[in-house]
Each structure stands twice: as C-alpha cells, then as structure tokens.
C-alpha cells in the first residue's frame, strides 16, 4: 500500500512538472515575434543594427522570465518536492 502511495506521489510530481513547462509556449511565441520585428527593422535601417540587436536581446531575456518561472517550478517539483511529500506521508502514517 505504501509503495502505491509513494508511486502516486512521484508520478504526480513528474506530471505536474511536465504540465508546468507548457508555459514555455508563451516566451517562444513572444521571442519569435520580437526577433521577426528586429529583422524587419534591420532590413529597413541596416545602419542601426547594433542598437537593435542589443535591445532585442534585452527584450528577449525579459520575455523569457515567465518561462523561467515555470522552469523553476518544474525543477522544484522534480528535485525537491518528492522527498518532502514522502516525508509528510510518513509522518501522517505514524
């Protein structure tokens, strides 16, 4: 019985981590848009390539933040949460 409970905990943590990473879609679309616009801008005004590139990298890194929140949650769910949850389960049983 205990094995099944631990297995459910581990499986649900993995599922949750996978579901959290769906958030990676957002930054992907956003950064793609940003790079497309930057390419257009460089095509229109090739002389300001340096400025556009630095601004674009900056904006990309900030747009990435939401994806990184999801990543942090996924990493916590995989590496930290299972042992915590199993500890809680064992203390509840006792």
């Amino acid at each position: 019985m205990l094995e099944i409970a631990v297995g459910i905990i581990l499986g649900c943590c993995a599922l949750g981590a996978g579901a959290a990473m769906i958030a990676g879609i957002g930054p992907g679309i956003g950064e793609g848009n940003a790079v497309a616009k930057a390419c257009e801008a460089i095509g229109r005004q090739p002389e300001c390539k340096g400025d556009v590139t630095t601004t674009m990298l900056m904006g990309c890194a900030i747009a990435e933040t939401t994806g990184l929140y999801a990543l942090v949650i996924a990493i916590l769910l995989i590496f930290v949460a299972p042992s915590r949850f199993v500890d809680i389960l064992l203390t509840v049983i006792k």
Binding site: L57, A61, E64, T65, L68, Y69, V72, I75
Partner: protein
C-alpha cells in the same frame, strides 16, 4: 633601477598568483570532497561544513566558497591591470584597463540619470562578478550563479538601492509614489516586491537550465553510444564516441554566451530600475529650494 624593475616584476607575479591560486584552490577542494558517482549527476552545491548558529545552522556551501574565490580573483585581475599606472610609460594592460573603465562609464552615462554619474564602479562590479561567476563553470566548477541564494543576495542589494533612491525625497513621497491611482496601490506594492524575485529567478533559472540541459544531453549521448558501439572489442566499446562535439557546442552557448548575456542583463536592469525609481524632478526642485 634594476632592483626597482625586479621589485615591479615580483609584485606582478604576486598579482598573477592572486588571480590563479583561488581558482586552483576551488578545483582542489572540489576534487578532494566530491563523492564519486556514476552517470547522471544533477545535484545542488556541495555542503563543505556547517557553522552552529543560534537561530539556524549556517551551511558553508560550494557556491559561497566559489563566489568568494571569484571575488579575490577579480581583485587580482584589477590590481594586475592597473599596476604601475601613472608612473612612466603606459603599457598595453593600462590601455586595456582604460578601455574597460571608459566602456563602463559610457554604459552608465547612456542608461542612467544625471544624478548617477559615479555609479560606474558598482555596475562594473556587478557585471564582472556575474560574468566571471558564470564563466567559472568552464573550469568544471559549480557556477555560483546557478544557486538561488547567491543571486538572491545580489538582487536584495539592488532592491535596497532602488528603495533608497525612491525614498530619497522623504517617506511621504515614497508612499505617494505607490498610490498614483489610489485603487492600484496593492498591485503597485506587489510589482515592487516582485522586482528582486524576478531578477534573481531570471539569472539563476537561465544558468541552471543550461547546466541541466548540458548534463542531460551528455548522459543521453553516453547511453546512445554504449548502445551503438557495444559490438566493438575490449575497452573500445566503453568509449563514448558520440560525446565528442555536441556537448562542446552546447557549452559554448550555455556557459559562455548565456552567462555573459545574463550578466549584461542583470547590470542593465539594475541601472534601469535604480534610475527609473528615482524622482529626478522633485529632487532637483528640492535642491534648488535648499540653495
């Protein structure tokens, strides 16, 4: 004259040792204390020892030791670059130092308010510390920036500075700046608190995700080459041929490019947040009144 130049050279060697020895110390410490493990290895920083403290024990981890050693190393680099400056002819390294300082001042000048002219050293310190902390992973060491405690500390320092410059016109103005439209005050407070959290998570998440992906790819290639080349006789079957190449390219992106980009972004956001929260018009008005 001869003894002078010999002394100069001796100090030079001392500074170079100051640059290199901390990193060697880190590597030796890691080799001596790291437990042996096979295959996949994604773990946090090693805990070297714990100090007993009244409220909570203070663990001294690999990341703290590494970041301190990086600081000493950067100090050695700076001393080496500026050694003998102002005496006699300018050398190549003096030109390099001048170039770096000029670049940093230009960055601060183009991104911050008139009031923050002397912020160059602080911004450069953050930039150099972050960049070198990320680059230390090229030596096989644990990069301190992939530990949320270290980056969180930097973010808290920046947050204290932001709050200081926001409240420079008195606490009444500071509270007033939150309730510009009164209804949005809770949202403004939440976004203010979210600033250090998002800065810390952005930097640490980027570096950590790079490390995790590198380890996963390397382990996957090891397993794959074991599967494909297992028919080879003797020790040839154990050599992971597929691990040549791809992990190195990933390392160039994740360790070098991503680390430097995150350092630049951290410094940039520091400048933008400090300069953005500063009530310049009000401050100038007060200054004129005082005079």
């Amino acid at each position: 004259m001869k003894s002078e130049s010999r002394r100069f050279r001796a100090v030079d060697i001392l500074y170079i040792l100051m640059m290199i020895l901390p990193l060697v110390f880190c590597i030796v410490l890691k080799v001596l204390t790291k437990p042996l493990s096979e295959g996949i290895d994604i773990s946090g920083a090693l805990v070297y020892f714990t100090i007993k403290m009244p409220i909570q024990d203070l663990p001294v981890t690999e990341s703290q030791v590494n970041s301190l050693m990086v600081m000493i190393s950067i100090l050695g680099l700076c001393l080496y670059l500026t050694h003998g400056m102002g005496k006699g002819q300018l050398k190549t390294r003096h030109h390099i130092a001048e170039f770096l300082v000029g670049k940093a001042d230009g960055l601060v000048k183009s991104n911050m308010d008139e009031h923050f002219r002397n912020f160059g050293p602080f911004i450069t310190a953050i930039l150099a510390l972050s960049a070198f902390s990320s680059l230390i992973s090229l030596l096989g060491l644990y990069p301190p920036t992939s530990d949320v405690n270290i980056v969180g500390g930097w973010a808290i320092v920046v947050f204290v500075l932001i709050t200081y410059y926001k409240a420079i016109c008195g606490p009444v103005q500071y509270i007033k700046s939150f309730c510009d439209p009164v209804l949005l005050a809770p949202l403004n407070i939440i976004s203010e608190v979210a600033t250090p959290i998002s800065m810390a998570f952005r930097h640490y998440g980027n570096v950590l995700s790079g490390a995790v992906i590198s380890v996963l790819v390397a382990t996957g290639l090891q397993g794959l080459s074991k599967m494909i080349f297992s028919f080879l006789p003797g020790f040839l079957g154990n050599i992971p041929f597929l691990q040549i190449g791809l992990p190195a390219i990933l390392s160039i992106y994740f360790d070098v490019f991503s680390g430097l980009l995150q350092a630049y972004i951290f410094a940039m956001l520091t400048m933008l947040y400090i300069s953005g929260g500063f009530p310049a018009e009000l401050f100038n008005k007060k200054k004129i009144k005082k005079i």
